[in-house]
């Protein structure tokens, strides 16, 4: 093999990183754990002259829906609930099928991996919304919006899940196909 670093960019070279799956699962678990308080704790604290209320991610989206902003409500629900949950399932499926094989073809699983990698960062929308609202709505006693602890849990969950997707080595999706293409006498008996 000779040198184990890329002559071009200096990265360490590995054919298949044996720890790749372990790291993907570790970040995945961290992401799932952070996602729980992200939904239970308040994302925004709104104080007006008359009342003070805290809303969670889902609560805030449902409130928007009630006030007729259905499009925005759907964007928030997709970015903050749909995408994270879909990512958890997709990464778990890819990681399990990399070890155990899958009925879905490598092409389909590769497409799934690309989608997961692409959409992960869009979940940050809700954190940015909180940042904008909290910096802007500071009208003394009349109205005031402050970020809640869920913003931290949610941001961490998005970051951990992105790291999980990056830790997964997509080349593992393709490792099975050479074995399948081999003539039968070479094929493993299992």
């Amino acid at each position: 093999m000779g040198t184990a670093t890329c002559g071009r960019c200096g990265s360490r070279l590995v054919s298949r990183d044996p720890k790749s799956l372990g790291r993907a699962w570790a970040w995945w678990l961290a992401g799932v754990l952070a996602y729980i308080p992200a939904n239970l704790w308040p994302m925004l604290r709104t104080r007006t002259l008359w009342q003070e209320e805290s809303s969670t991610i889902i609560g805030g989206a449902l409130e928007l829906w009630r006030y007729g902003n259905m499009g925005i409500s759907v964007i928030i629900l997709v970015a903050s609930v749909g995408i994270p949950l879909a990512k958890f399932f997709a990464i778990a499926y890819l990681a399990l099928s990399a070890r155990n094989g899958a009925r879905a073809s490598p092409g389909v699983r590769m497409r799934l991996y690309e989608v997961v990698e692409y959409i992960g960062r869009w979940s940050m929308i809700d954190v940015f919304v909180v940042a904008i609202l909290a910096s802007l709505v500071q009208l003394n006693v009349v109205a005031r919006i402050d970020p809640g602890p869920a913003s931290l849990a949610f941001a961490l969950s998005v970051i951990f899940t992105m790291l999980s997707a990056q830790a997964f080595d997509p080349r593992m999706i393709w490792d099975g196909i050479e074995a399948e293409a081999r003539p039968p006498r070479d094929a493993p008996s299992a």
């Binding site: 960062r121 929308i125 940015f128 919304v129 940042a131 904008i132 802007l136 709505v137 009208l139 997509p170």
Partner: protein, 212 residues
């Protein structure tokens, strides 16, 4: 198109290209400007050179730096409600999470919308300016370009833009919102970053900075 079925024993290493996603090996062909070589197994784009892309990328990176720095100076958004008003700069938005554990969110947001777009533009300039002007590449050019690529998913200007849209609708019921100059500069930054990432052909850049 790259050719996928030959035996590669006789090929020089520089003439081969491995698909970064699925590891299929191809003999790198001379791809004409504007055309693309795509992995036949997983459809990842391998080579996509553009004419005069170098100069365009440099201009866009410079524009990105000017826009980020400018957006920091000018007001970003302003609301008016019942005689009260509040103005926020991009810096206020990025650092709106108070002390304590939430400070981490401020750091993350600042990195995602200000520091990383700026840093990536600087790394691209460091990598490409000497190459485009026919000078030998900088000593750290390879490391700089590798970092620029590694940081790509974490630079989230376009995600922040959608966040702005959502917030505007949310506040619109509560107060009158006016968009400051920094808002439009940031909008331009999103267009510039997306255009720049479309133009960069990774394979051509790597080849140009390793040749020397």
């Amino acid at each position: 198109m790259a050719d996928g079925t030959s035996i590669f024993a006789d090929a020089a290493l520089e003439d081969l290209v491995a698909c970064p996603e699925c590891d299929a090996i191809y003999r790198a062909a001379d791809v004409p400007s504007g055309a693309r070589a795509v992995c036949s197994r997983c459809h990842t784009v391998l080579i996509a050179p553009r004419q005069r892309a170098g100069m365009a990328i440099i201009s866009l990176a410079l524009a990105a730096i000017v826009l980020v720095v400018g957006a920091l100076w000018f007001p970003f958004l302003r609301i008016d409600a019942r005689g009260l008003w509040q103005e926020a700069s991009l810096w206020d938005v990025a650092t709106s999470f108070p002390d304590g554990p939430l400070l981490f969110v401020s750091v993350a947001v600042t990195a995602a919308i200000l520091v990383l777009p700026l840093l990536r533009a600087a790394l691209i300039l460091y990598t490409l300016v000497p190459v485009v002007f026919d000078r030998p590449p900088r000593p750290q050019a390879r490391r700089a370009f590798a970092w620029s690529e590694r940081l790509r998913p974490w630079s989230m200007a376009e995600v922040f833009a959608i966040g702005c849209a959502v917030s505007l609708v949310k506040i619109a019921d509560l107060a009158t919102v006016s968009l400051g100059p920094a808002f439009w500069m940031f909008a331009a930054l999103v267009v510039v970053t997306v255009a720049q990432d479309q133009l960069v052909c990774r394979w051509s850049v790597w080849r140009s900075i390793t040749r020397a």
